[in-house]
Symmetry: C2
Subunit: 410 residues, 2 copies
């Protein structure tokens, strides 16, 4: 990266990709091009890692057709990272910026990325280096604070709801107990979206478990046995972050039993949950033996699917609203910076509901978005703690868009 | 089911559902309605099981809007079954037909369903009961004999290719070794379709393993290590029916080790492969430790996803050609019967290739479709046995339809 007379800008992408994260990237690229204060725009390869390793791509002058194709392509076009910078790492980021006339930093990611942005901004302020830092929200988990919802969530929610809809019909064709494990380490937003598949009382998902509503193994088995006895089938959606009555993650216990000390954690100290079918398989095996016992030894068909990375990367299953808002978030970040705001995170506020759904963007403070996450509110969880309320349907429907229309013989 | 003056007909659906199996059902319903010889059309609930348990739905006079919605709905609208009738079971089917003036039987399913249809037809002939029996092909496995391809396959192949495309981009964003397990117990047709995601040399899938090309654990690890060393990432698609150099299924060994005598088999004596992430997890754990050893103990990110039931049930990811052909297969079965043919299986023959893709239907003999399956031909597998040839792209592209367009920065 060379120096130049006008200020330079850096954009990066962080954390788990989404199908619309490149919309935000292209929103940044196209808006920077209109903004005279920025000379060169550099894309950091693999997030902050590219910044400290001087691995950049110049993003000026790209063909607009190519940009549109990139915008519609799933996963981070620049590459991503799981690195969570500590103070020293942030110091190296800031040093790279200071050495290269970088005065604008746009970082697309979740709450950890907002945290990194926050720390780097503080260092720049302390050093008297004029650096504008904007966080552009991105997470299929939908668990960022302040904003009404996060770009990336609507499309992942659309995928999950569609998958549960189809799998519920599959489970009605060949009846049994079906466990579907859905992403969401700490928050049940994505798992909750499966409720959109349920139009009639006995439709799948018959039970929904989110981390915000702890459930004991006994209660879990009771719930399934009741529905299976009544309908001859039961589809259960389970968040990968499901916790027991003591607040301990089911996966934590199950993975420890299976792997002992070798449990894999990422740079953030998080347990590896995705990229393995183990939680689903353990739940299925456990449910099979326990429910069979309660039903007098009857043979039961129990299957598990873990939706895995498809939830965040499947091309073509994109919410139109999510697609547009991800683009808008990238544009607004540059516009806030151009207007002179020193830092912030782009957030959404609803200005219209239901069929009149509309949003406006506003600037949130980085520190209010960094670190902590936003759980699924209690009002969206039913009293029994095993389902999602209709209020949530009102919240989530505009974000996913209409699901496929279904016809039934009965 | 009451008797009537004119002959009655029964239609049923069998085996694993697809997203277009109801197109075939509606093709039967709408064509029977035009055909004066049939009085009442009964849908057997849950396949042959509904026939022997007298569980039927009358399908005459249904609203055409409802029929169109049902046609576009994934999974078997009548319910399905895994029952594989033996002689005695077939005798009960035939007895139900004889007692209820059933003179037409349309059975939508795979090779086992063709076998059932074949046996029931022979019994009718022996008893001098005029019964017309037609098998309507359906399988995401694409492994039926005689026909060029099977309804249900194109859409499942579209899902798999899309999933691999997105997951490959995800794995390029956060590089590592990724194992994707794809359905296909005996034949690699569906796994092979993942090759459509590969447009450039280093695109995913980097390696493809199908049951028709046995691979030893050593070779498997060598192949991955070579690509991972070169690219820093490797996405591997593996058919659930992958076999070792002795022809023994990897899953057979892995599941036996994990479950001992408790291995679950279906009514056809098949091992349970779907509805579990175990094969993928075992391969991932094994690959991780072996490849890490070869690379001097280096820490490697290895993940596995098992695409599971989503491959056959995901609504909205439908190949237009597959959708139309599934409908046509149902229509043609009734037309063959109306024209006086006593029995058969609907088959497809290509009459135009590439951009001029076109097919015609013809009548195959039930016995030629029953029981045995059709493996992926050797010409579609590369010499190393770890990839799929470009000839296969020519074969499969018209069946899946165009995949989403992708843009890359590099």
């Amino acid at each position: 990266m060379g120096s130049a007379r006008k200020a330079n800008a850096v954009v990066g992408q962080s954390g788990g990709p989404t199908v619309v994260i490149n919309q935000s990237l292209v929103g940044v690229i196209e808006t920077v091009a209109k903004f005279g204060e920025i000379d060169r725009l550099f894309g950091a390869r693999y997030g902050v890692r590219g910044i400290i390793e001087n691995d950049f791509m110049e993003l000026n002058g790209l063909d607009s057709d190519l940009l549109e194709r990139i915008a519609d392509t799933p996963a981070s076009a620049l590459g991503s990272t799981r690195d969570k910078p500590d103070e020293e790492y942030c110091r190296r980021i800031f040093a790279a910026f200071a050495a290269n006339d970088v005065r604008y930093f746009f970082y697309i990611g979740g709450n950890d990325s907002a945290d990194t942005a926050c720390i780097v901004k503080e260092m720049a302020d302390e050093a008297g280096h004029d650096l504008k830092v904007f966080h552009i929200p991105k997470t299929i988990d939908n668990d960022l604070r302040v904003t009404d919802h996060c770009p990336g969530y609507g499309s992942a929610a659309r995928f999950v709801a569609s998958a549960v809809l189809g799998d519920g019909l599959d489970n009605a064709s060949l009846p049994g107990i079906k466990i579907d494990v859905i992403m969401g380490r700490n928050a049940g937003w994505l798992t909750a979206a499966g409720m959109l598949a349920r139009r009639d009382e006995n439709d799948a998902p018959n039970l929904i478990y989110v981390p915000e509503a702890p459930v004991s193994e006994d209660q879990f088995v009771d719930d399934i046995a009741e529905i299976y006895s009544r309908l001859g089938r039961c589809l259960v959606t389970v968040s990968e972050g499901i916790v027991d009555e003591n607040g301990v993650g089911w996966s934590e216990q199950l993975l420890r039993m299976a792997h002992g000390a070798e449990v894999e954690r990422d740079g953030h100290g998080n347990l590896q949950l995705s990229g393995s079918g183990m939680l689903g398989d353990c739940i299925a095996n456990f449910a099979k033996s326990e429910i069979s016992k309660r039903l007098g030894g009857r043979k039961i068909r129990v299957r598990a699917d873990t939706f895995g990375y498809l939830q965040r990367s499947f091309p073509g299953v994109v919410s139109p609203v999510d697609r547009a808002e991800a683009r808008l978030a990238g544009r607004r970040a540059v516009e806030f910076a151009a207007a002179g705001d020193p830092s912030g995170s782009v957030a959404f506020r609803r200005t219209g509901k239901g069929d009149d759904y509309a949003v406006e963007c506003f600037r949130a403070e980085l520190k209010d978005v960094a670190r902590k996450t936003k759980p699924l509110p209690a009002e969206y969880i039913n009293e029994a703690g095993n389902g999602i309320t209709e209020e949530f349907r009102t919240y989530v429907s505009p974000l996913t868009g209409e699901l496929p229309v279904i016809g039934k013989l009965t």
